[in-house]
C-alpha cells in the first residue's frame, strides 16, 4: 500500500527511537518506530486504504486518515489486532457531541476515558480487574495511548498551544479499561447505551482524574452510594453538570448485585443524593452572588439527568474501594460517545 506521509531515515532502531523523540512525536515515553511494514500490518488489520478518512475534526479542520491512525498505533506499541478499537475511538473523537475542542484545549483539560465492551475485550486480553487503571496490560496501555498520540501528532493537540490544560493528569498517557462483563449483574455499558450485547463498542468520555473512595462498613447499596455521593457532591463537576463515570469494583459490585439493584436504581439514587444547594455553591465560591433565603432550599443535581452517569462494573475482586470520575466541563461542552468497533 502506498503511504503518503513524509519519511525519514535513521541508522538503526535505536537511532529511530531517538529520532521520534527529536521530532516531538512522543508523550515523553519511548515509542515504537513506525516502519512501513508495521504501518501496513495495522492497515491490513482493519482493511482500510491509507488514504481513507477515519475522522474529520471540525474545529481543527483536520482530516485523520487511516494511515495516520496506523502510524500512531505503531508508535503507541499496539498490536494490529487492536486497530479496530483505535479506529472506533478516533471516530468518536470527531463526533460533534464529544466536542473535540473543549476537552482537548481547555485549561481545565481532560483525558479521554475509554471503556471497551463486547467480545473483543476478552479476545484482546483487556484488563477489567485488579489494578484497573494501572499498568500491566498491553491492550489497555497501548490502545489508550494510540488515541492520545493521534490527538497529539495528527490533530496537533500540543501542550502550550492547542492543549492548554493547566495541570493535566496521568490519564493523558492512557486511560482505557474494559468492563467486568463476566461477573457484572447487568448488561454491559454499551448495551445500556443502545448497542447489542454481542456488538463490540468503545465509549469515550472527556474525563478528569479518578477519585477513589472507600467503604468497608456498609452491606447495602444505599450505604455504599451514600459514601460515593458525599464525595461527589463537591467535586470537579459540581455546578457544571458534566457526565460522571461511576466504577464499582468487586466487593461493592457484590453488594449491589446481592440487593438486586439495577443500573437505573444506582443512577437514580446518585441523581437524588449527590445534589447540592445553591447556598452551598455560593458559600464555596463556585457560584457568584449573594445568598438569598431561597438558595438554601434550591438544589442542583450533579448531572443533568440520571443517564449522564456511566455506571461500570470493573476493578479487583477484593477491596472496599470504588471510584467516580468527573467529566470535563459541562454537558453542553462535551458528552460521552459510544461507537461500534467494526471488524473488517
Amino acid at each position: 500500500m502506498q503511504l503518503e506521509s513524509r519519511h525519514y531515515d535513521a541508522r538503526d532502531m535505536a537511532d529511530a527511537m531517538e529520532l521520534c523523540y527529536t521530532k516531538g512525536w512522543t508523550d515523553g515515553l519511548p515509542v515504537v518506530p513506525p516502519t512501513e511494514e508495521r504501518i501496513n500490518a495495522m492497515l491490513a488489520a482493519v482493511k482500510l486504504d491509507p488514504a481513507q478518512q477515519v475522522a474529520f475534526i471540525e474545529n481543527r479542520q483536520v482530516s485523520v486518515t487511516a494511515e495516520k491512525v496506523a502510524i500512531n498505533a505503531v508508535l503507541a506499541g499496539c498490536k494490529p489486532a487492536y486497530m479496530p478499537v483505535v479506529v472506533a475511538a478516533v471516530e468518536a473523537l470527531a463526533d460533534p457531541l464529544y466536542g473535540y475542542h473543549g476537552p482537548a484545549t481547555s485549561t481545565g483539560g481532560s483525558a479521554v476515558f475509554m471503556v471497551v465492551n463486547g467480545p473483543i475485550a476478552r479476545e484482546l486480553d483487556m484488563n477489567c480487574g485488579d489494578n484497573l487503571f494501572g499498568p500491566g496490560w498491553r491492550a489497555n496501555a497501548t490502545i489508550g495511548r494510540a488515541v492520545r498520540l493521534v490527538m497529539r501528532n495528527t490533530i496537533g493537540t500540543l501542550p502550550g498551544e492547542l492543549d492548554r490544560s493547566s495541570l493535566g493528569h496521568p490519564g493523558k498517557y492512557t486511560f482505557c479499561i474494559a468492563e467486568n462483563e463476566a461477573e457484572s449483574p447487568w448488561p454491559p455499558l454499551h448495551a445500556d447505551r443502545g448497542f447489542k450485547r454481542e456488538q463490540n463498542a468503545v465509549t469515550i468520555m472527556a474525563a478528569l482524574g479518578v477519585h477513589q473512595y472507600s467503604n468497608g462498613l456498609s452491606n447495602t447499596p444505599e450505604g455504599v452510594l451514600t459514601t460515593a455521593c458525599a464525595q461527589m457532591r463537591i467535586s470537579a463537576g459540581t455546578a457544571r453538570r458534566p457526565f460522571y463515570a461511576l466504577v464499582f469494583a468487586g466487593e461493592h459490585m457484590a453488594i449491589i448485585a446481592k440487593a438486586g439493584w439495577s443500573r437505573d436504581d444506582v443512577k437514580r439514587y446518585c441523581f437524588e443524593h449527590a445534589q447540592i444547594s445553591v447556598a452551598e455553591l455560593k458559600r464555596i465560591n463556585i457560584r457568584d452572588g449573594d445568598i438569598t433565603a431561597d438558595d438554601e432550599t434550591t438544589r442542583v443535581p450533579l448531572v443533568h439527568e440520571p443517564n449522564d452517569f456511566l455506571v461500570i462494573m470493573a476493578g479487583g475482586r477484593a477491596g472496599v474501594q470504588s471510584a467516580y470520575i468527573p467529566g470535563w466541563g459541562g454537558k453542553n461542552g462535551s458528552q460521552a460517545v459510544t461507537k461500534e468497533i467494526r471488524r473488517p
Binding site: R60, Q61, V62, H101, T105, G156, L158, G160, E161, L162, R164
Partner: protein
Amino acid sequence: MLDSIVFEQQGLPSASIITDVFMLTGQAMARSWGLKDFKFLAMPHPIANLTDAELDSRARDITPQVVKLLLEGQSSH
C-alpha cells in the same frame, strides 16, 4: 475560539477577542485552519473575576482595536 473565521467565511466583517494567555493557542488554531496570519485581538487575562470598573476599563482599551480590525480586515494589501 476564532469564531470570526466562521463569520468572515459567511461574508461578515468580524473580530474575535481572546485573552492574552491564549495567544499561542489562537495562532495554532489559525494555522490549523490554514490561515497562519489570521488577525485577532487579545486582552489581558483573566476576565472572570473583574470588578465593574475593571470591565469598563477593559472595554475602553479594546474598542479602538476592535474598530481598527473591523475597518482594516485581514488583508495586508
